[in-house]
Amino acid sequence: MTQTLARTRQDDGFDLTEDERDLSAMVREFAEEVVAPRSYEADREHELPLDVVAQMGELGLFGLPFPEEVGGQGGDYMAFCLAVEGLARVDQSIAITLEAAVGLGAMPVFRHGTEQQKQELLPALLAGKALAGFGLTETGAGSDAGATRTTAVLDGDEWVVTGSKQFITNSGTPITSHVAVTAVTGRTTDASGRERREISTIIVPTGTPGFTVEPAYDKVGWRASDTHPLTLDGVRVPASNLLGERGRGYANFLSALDEGRIAVAALATGAAQGCLEEAVRYANERVVFDVPIAQHQHIAFTIARMRSRVHTARLSWHDAARRRDAGASFKEQAAIAKLVASDAAMLNARDATQVFGGYGFMNESLVGRHYRDSKILEIGEGTSEVQLMLIARSLGLGVQA
């Protein structure tokens, strides 16, 4: 049986270095032995298993794309995405916890933080001993993040932050150290005389008076991932908690969004791969009308399509990640990877569940969980429509958002 699995492991990693292969093998083993046995219960109880997070920290996964000088592992974005893919194969909640911790928690501090902010916050974040969230989304500001309503007013040497945020990942775990929130810090007039909101990012430490992490959402999928609405009611933090330049909050976030798409594409590829492996295994085991269903051409062709989607998705994110690591432009490639891979995950989850029949509709089954978990991949980190808009624009097609 492992033989069959070994064959479905497919060598899409033609471009991988030996180190990258070893990393993938390590993450795969960790995912199977440590993550997977806990996944069903974590999903059912809507609870992020913190001991699993701690072990991921020991493996160095939270520090992967950061240099050793700041406490990172000295790897690149490719390595980080390989880890995300390997985890998502068995558990999307754990994979998004890592993806968000790095992309939305640690990366903004590393990119835009002052020396003091870096020294204070990065060591724990990169070791997986603390998690941080990024509060951008609001009731009226999702894909249109410029519509932010939360405000931050400088009062002496303190920011006073007021507003609310929605769907903030890793914002309320027992080890969450802070949430960086975007807020309107003033209004400026652009060259054409139009008034624009000046958006900045402010670090709000967990436990600051007036900062309330509301009860977790009851989500359809990614249920072990920690997601909360946040309320900020006259929250006072030192002026030095400004993260990055004043007025650059939105622009800085947008740059993070591009690379985050590659990681989410890797996550989606892992999900699609997990569905594929489960479908192959089950189709060989399940006997209907005296033959394994794998011998029914419809099932075999369904699975062949699943495999093709995994292949396309993987090549697509590999290319975007390689471009990013090489310093080349990757905006369009990241959008394509995100679009293609999230489609692959959703379609493979649907097909795998169909191959499993009734068993696939049980929450204990991995494919059933992937079925619930994968929908958000077409929404989060830029909806599929946003990806299409970006791709169209890269072709010079002047579409409106």
Binding site: M1, T2, A6, D19, E29, G60, Q73, G74
Partner: protein, 265 residues
């Protein structure tokens, strides 16, 4: 302290394990992995290294060219150096040749205080290589301990028919550990990256001063091989008031419990 850990690459335990017509392991039939019991033996050594940085952990394997993958994994888990005995004359080695070769390799590594191995590999299952190495090198030997305390001497708990006993031995020693020893750690990312820079020395029988015809040794010869017979259906016990008795009778007939203990039911 210098610790040598014996590492073996074996066919994946969960994969298809086949013999070729010559009775050799069919290496194409499944993935080759580092034997889990070897990993646990390494974990024992690495825990010692965690608490005493002066400890040097050397991993040693005898096997075909691919065995270097098992050694590289051991290096990424935290071993300091690796030795790979690679020689065409070693194809189809039996236990005697293996023990002789490994003993020569341990002598070649030199100044070894402690050798740790699994109690039996998952493919060969001979379980006597450590004892034979002890004999070759005049080392004290603890067999099949569930864990190991390492100090000026070594000690560990050994399961017996009726319970367990603690056994200890002076150094230098060779110890085999059971599957009750701690589960092995995963290599971390830095471990993977630094493994490349650690020394992996390939040695031949000539380097070890071993005559490849092993003139002193009798050897086992494979006469024939056969597939394992297919599994037969189990026996179903339906409870009509006497299931317990039937179950006991069945277990006793299979010698899974002794007739004496059966009487107590």
């Amino acid at each position: 302290m210098k610790i040598v850990v014996l590492i073996k690459q074996v066919p994946d335990t969960y994969g298809e394990r086949k013999l070729t017509s010559e009775g050799l392991v069919d290496r194409d039939a499944s993935d080759a992995i580092i034997d889990e019991i070897s990993e646990r033996a390494l974990e024992v050594a690495l825990q010692r290294k965690d608490s005493d940085k002066a400890t040097e952990v050397v991993v040693l394997s005898m096997g075909p060219a691919e065995a270097k993958d098992a050694l590289r994994k051991a290096l990424s888990m935290g071993a300091d150096a690796a030795f790979h005995v690679l020689d065409d004359a070693l194809v189809a080695s039996d236990i005697g040749w293996t023990a002789t070769t490994l003993a020569a390799a341990i002598r070649h590594i030199g100044d070894v205080d402690l050798v740790i191995a699994g109690d039996a590999t998952t493919d060969g299952r001979g379980g006597v290589v450590p004892a034979m190495i002890a004999e070759h090198l005049g080392l004290s030997h603890l067999a099949a301990v569930d864990g190991l305390e390492i100090g000026a001497a070594v000690s560990g708990s050994q399961a017996t028919e009726s319970g367990s006993r603690t056994v200890h031995a002076p150094l230098p020693a060779i110890v085999s550990i059971t599957e009750s020893a701690d589960e092995a750690r995963f290599p971390n990312f830095k471990g993977i990256m630094t493994a490349k820079r650690k020394p992996l020395t390939v040695v031949s029988l000539a380097d070890l001063g071993v005559d490849p015809s092993f003139p002193e040794l009798a050897r086992s010869v494979i006469v024939s091989t056969a597939e394992r017979p297919p599994r037969e259906g189990g026996r179903k016990v339906v409870d009509e008031g006497n299931a317990a008795a039937e179950l006991v009778e069945f277990l006793a007939s299979q010698r899974l419990i002794s007739a004496g203990s059966a009487k107590g039911v």
